[in-house]
Amino acid sequence: MSFEWVVEIISNNWPMFIRGAGVTLLISMVGTILGFIIGLLIGVIRTIPTPDRKAKRIFLKVINAILSIYIEIFRGTPMIVQAMVIYYGSALAFGVDMDRLNAAFLIVSINTGAYMSEIIRGGILSIDKGQYEAAQAIGMNHFQTMKNVVLPQAIRNILPATGNEFVINIKDTSVLNVISVSELFFQTKSIAGNNFRYFESFFVACILYFIMTFTVTRILRYIEKRLDGPENYTMYANQMQVETPEDLLRKKDNH
């Protein structure tokens, strides 16, 4: 390997690398966000309590069955194969020639959605029964309970898992090169195909992938910390008669 080659490749091809990295980031971000929304909807539907009325119960059962087939299939097959099937399958079945970037968004979103729906369902199920009961006891219906009490807590708890999906997507979008999406791996392959310096070119790609995942991981960790809120709360008014803020701190630490 020659360091000079790396420098040379970067200086000759940096716009392509940057564009590739940009497309990779864009696809993983859109895929994670849409996948999160899909997962949220499915997770909420799959945790609806069994209704009393028989017709409703059967309807919900059918929906649940369809959703679990979706989840099983997309978790049980590789994304590289899903990409081929969806891209070429849609061309065959509907005669549509999908825009490659849109195809990428679609594939990553529904793939991520399958994982996210289970993550979100787990997040919802992990919320203490007492939270639901307290909400119901003040008259909230199921939807209000989910929106105001359960989901904010569930989403907060699954934020690390969501960040994880994002990082996985940054890496796994590389498989989309099989349908010629111009993400980082695909761009690197073209660069290397021109200069025949495979090692040096992919070494650059490697560094770029790492910078992206590392930065995203740090940013998410920072957000997570911020979401925990300030370690202490501000007193509404200085009416503390007995306890000082130090006492409160100590009490908190003892928990």
């Binding site: 939270q131 009961e133 307290a134 008259g139 105001n148 904010p152 807590q153 809120g229 709360y233």
Partner: protein, 244 residues
Amino acid sequence: MEAVIEIQHLNKAFGTHEVLKDINFSVNKGEVVCIIGSSGSGKSTLLRCVNLLEKPSGGKIIYNGENILDNKHDISAYRTKLGMVFQQFNLFNNHNVLKNCTVGQMKVLKRSRQEAEEVAMKYLKVVGMDQYVNAKPKQLSGGQKQRVAIARALSMEPDVMLFDEPTSALDPEMVGEVLKVMKELADSGLTMLIVTHEMGFAKEVSDRVVFMDKGVIAEEGSPEQIFNQPAQERTREFLKRTLN
């Protein structure tokens, strides 16, 4: 006397396990009723049936002259009329103290934020937690959490307050502060239905004591009668066991 809630022939079974058998009793306006009895006798289930957290298997719950079990009823509206205080507090972990007391008012009673906050502050003052509006539940001690939970229930301005062993999950030194608040509420004329193991408290605040045993109301009467001259052998047994 005017009954706020009247329970008639209430039954509850979990599968084949009959937990409540033919329960009949009522809570009158302004009355404080304590339910006592050994653990597993069905006290929590009874309370949870009253606000429909458990679905009764049979019987009637009469509120405002209507049986709320006859399907047509708006369960949500009925529940806003009953304030529930849980053994485990169950404060909303994602909200601070103030929001815990306003979210139900705003989302369910559709009060404006300003009105909801005024009402919340009024009841947070009653329980002595008005300085803690910005605190999150995890930053509070058990006794403080339970006082906020009481304020949250009061903020809905219910007709009856239900308490399910509100001090059982507390460290001993925090039991007093919660009982003191409850005593003040009782003195203010609030209608209360309280499941408790605090016999001294039950004796002091209640107008009527209900003793439950194995899913039935074994005995019911004034605190003097229940604690000093229990008519039933099993009431005597229970009191002997608990008071020692």
